[in-house]
Amino acid sequence: MKQIYDFSMPSRQSYAAIPLIIYKLYKTWFKILLPFLVATIFSAGITTKIIFGILLLIGVVFGIVSFFRYTFQVVAEELIIKKGVFKRSKMVIPFERIQSINFKQSIIHQALSVVELEIDTAGSKGSEFELYALSNKKAESLRSTILASKRIDLLPKEEVEIKTSIRHIGEVLFQLSFVDLLKVGLTQNHLKSALLPVALLFWLQNTLQDVDINLEEIIDKNIDTDQIINSSLLILGGFIIVYAIFSILISLIRSIIKYFELKFIRITDGFKVSYGLFTKREITIKDSKIQLFHWRDNLLRKIPKIHSMEIKQASSTTVKQKGSSIHLAGLSQNHINVTLQTYFKDDPYQVKEFISPSEWLLIRQLVILSLLLVAAITALFYFPNEKIIIAGILLIPFLMIRAYLFQQKKKIGMNEEVIHIKGGHFANDHLLFQTYKIQGVAIKQSPFQHRKKLASIIFYTAAGIKRMPYLDLAQAKSIRDYVLMVIETDKRDWM
């Protein structure tokens, strides 16, 4: 992978970009023109046909012109892109501003053996841009050019890192086999995705019941109410089974399409992940940009002992950008450890001691839930036929168990390097981030917490807000002060 290509002169994309540009253009036009198309589809006169023909032709011409007007070059650690058909524009992107370079390959790309490059910069919204099509080798070479020259200004740090680095460059840390894919697909959180339609059904049924009751009054109670309830329960049961099968199938297919041939690779200063059946994606993330590791299992995933993991980058906008973080699925605990060891160069990520939130968190929730339960039972005496109340009564014990599990699992631990927050209700959830990458800390108190001298601590990271509830106020303050001390004295750049 040496420098075969010279990027110092302005060069164009692969010719394959032309159809791709035209295709994209048509796609946007199609969306805009859709209502018009639907309106004229049956009564298309010769003039409309001509107009459409002209439009299509304009698209072709536009695509070709914009292809020839789109050039990129590399000059002194900067990527310069010139483009525009009517309004010419020039973008200069210094390499150090480039956050990530991701490869994307749809079926069309694969057929033409080209890749699309998405280049994300640390700037604000809309600062990311695309190279529609470059040949595989050229894209790879461009990426290594950008990554290589970035290494130069990081050199002093690099020397220290190489000594202790335990993973080789280019080593595959983790890959998914077909069986793993099946496991991932089968253990999606089906329950969660089933909740919405069940709730919808419940609501629908309730409304129907209302109508039925009205009808009954009119026709003098000719219909047997028991029968209605029985048949609706049957419908509900059947629906749940059908939905379960459907949901499992869908998530199976989805995870196979999404994570097909997943490969997680260590590269210089970062990680690279590639996956996808129809659309192949390749995402790279640099160590310095990583803000947070988030991994979790769920009830089903506990059986094959697999986890999903997200490696989050700093996102400049509050809107989540696609590809601003790496998603992995089907990892064993060992895979997670290897990843963390690779990133942290050893095991400074291991936190020994954890603290739990105050029991008041649980007590308060249980009190509120019990009061609700009492209220619901009382209400049941007045409205014995309201199904929603019965459902509520059944739900409350579930919420109580949930609250209990939350209390048991929520824990925070820290050492010189990282903060580790554990959590989850039925699942086990882990958040791990480096203390010096935190942007700000807050301590918050509700009136209740204030009375009990408790507080929640909130960490603002560049990859989202993370909180730890119901700590002792003094404890929260000492954590805050420690975190501030680390941020204010750590020499490393947060990104």
Partner: protein, 135 residues
């Protein structure tokens, strides 16, 4: 959007039509509610405060729900002094600090005298660079 809200309010009022005989009471309740809100606002204002420390800025806010947020100078991305029309009329400015931690961690200190806000802003900008060089 506005239309929807308008309809919503109308619908709501229609539902409340049964309260018509007790108009006096309703007005009293609304008045008391507003009074309570004002009182909480005043209390909140009383407990609001900021503190410029060696390497960070702490802002305290809230009377019922309290919060205390600390932003190290080295993590301030940029800052600005803003002034809405009412604040301009009353002669006050707001100082806003932006970090990379998302909009919720952005700090805004309201009701500062304009000169003070500018001075503070300049100080933070200077400290931000100095601290970065120091460590």
């Amino acid at each position: 959007m506005l239309l929807f809200i308008g309809f919503g309010v109308l619908y709501f009022l229609k539902k409340l039509a049964f309260l018509a005989p007790y108009t006096g009471l309703v007005i009293l309740a609304v008045f008391l509610f507003l009074l309570a809100l004002t009182w909480i606002r005043l209390k909140r204002f009383g407990s609001m405060g900021y503190q410029v420390r060696h390497h960070d800025l702490v802002f305290k806010d809230g009377f019922l729900w309290r919060s205390e947020i600390a932003i190290p100078f080295v993590r301030v991305q940029h800052s600005e002094v803003t002034q809405g029309p009412i604040a301009r009329w009353m002669g006050y400015s707001t100082l806003k600090l932006y970090t990379a931690g998302g909009s919720q961690s952005d700090l805004s200190i309201p009701a500062l005298l304009p000169e003070k806000a500018e001075k503070l802003k300049a100080y933070i900008a200077q400290k931000s660079i100095a601290d970065e060089a120091d460590i």
